[in-house]
Symmetry: C2
Subunit: 188 residues, 2 copies
DNA sequence: TTCAGAACGTGATATTTATCACAAATTTTT
DNA sequence: AAAAATTTGTGATAAATATCACGTTCTGAA
């Protein structure tokens, strides 16, 4: 248990004793999902935040014309939920589906609140995670404003090369905000 | 002092006694800037977070071709800084300028760290502010992916009608990510 | 008040991207 | 292994947007 991947992940931000980690882990549950199964559907309230042990997921939504837009991919060691719905405990606008079979840990909203109060280290961990999440989103906006489609494609390829072996190109296109045809022509 | 606008602002999230607010305020400084003056230049480290008492500002950056892109506008009761640079104390990629004469309060990075440690209420205030900031950015990405230029223009107009009297249309265009000519043709 | 610069609208044209259509290749399911 | 569904590439065309150009209006500073 000392070498649990979640411990390693948390320790990138905050050092923990084994006992502290055991205590944290006791607030989580495990679940497995198969490809095409969902974790969250729009209209529901996101009452869980998932940590991905193994697998690949997408969070996405549809516009009025029925086109799918990818908000975020999730892979090993990433967290995934609808952040707005989870934080506000409001109805979600997004869906989360498994792109591959997935092995997941999750913490419920209640347990996260509880753990935040019980353990100041975890309050700091989540505060820091929120800060970094905000920075990542800010940089994605910067990139959407500044970079051409081709540049955004190349940056994504550079940053997450694994993604391109695991998810269909049409989902990459949807993440970048272009049609799959346009994306296809970018590298042909 | 009891009715200080910053007190009112913080109390939208956390209730404070007058003494607590006095203590918080003692960590801030006041400054005034004139139109066209800057608060932050790219390459500098953002060592202050500003709270806007009065005035209007823009945070922006340039792409390789020299085109200006607006990341954020700031008006009364908003916070402004380069969040990434401030949090990481790293070199900023963005600039912040006054669009109007401005009356500002600011807290330095050191004082904010200090205040966070000294006063758990403020740790919670900033954590919550960070969460909401992240949610706002997520929604802006959703909108960039989902909505047409015209829709984004209308949403902005609806959400911040004041903005349109205060800032030139070319800056609105730059915020929306289109050329000023295209924006001009959207409503003519 | 005048003058210079900025803001704004608009035409003409080029570029980028979306959309529709279809066939080939690949993957998944039975 | 065969059948079905999905993914992918690509041509033709339409739509959206950028770019360049120029004249008018507005605004702020001398």
């Amino acid at each position: 248990m000392t070498h649990h991947p979640l411990k390693k992940h948390i320790e990138e931000i905050i050092k923990l004793t084994d006992e502290e980690f055991e205590f944290i882990l006791s607030h989580f549950e495990t679940t497995n999902k198969r490809k095409h199964q969902y974790l969250l559907q729009d209209g529901e309230i996101a009452d869980k935040e998932y940590w991905i042990v193994k697998g690949c997921l997408k969070s996405y939504f549809f516009d009025e014309s029925g086109k799918e837009h990818i908000l975020q991919f999730g892979m090993e060691n990433w967290w995934i939920t609808d952040y707005e719905s989870f934080v506000k405990q409001s109805k979600s606008k997004i869906n989360i589906d498994c792109i591959e079979d997935c092995e997941l840990l999750y913490i419920t909203f209640e347990n996260r609140e509880k753990l935040t109060k019980e353990m100041h280290k975890m309050e700091r961990f989540w505060a820091k995670k929120s800060k970094f999440g905000r920075i990542a989103l800010q940089n994605r906006i910067l990139s959407l404003l500044k970079n051409s489609t081709k540049e955004r494609y190349e940056l994504l390829l550079e940053q997450y090369p694994k993604l391109f072996h695991r998810v269909p190109k049409k989902l990459i296109a949807s993440y970048l905000g272009v049609s799959r045809e346009t994306l296809s022509r970018l590298y042909s």
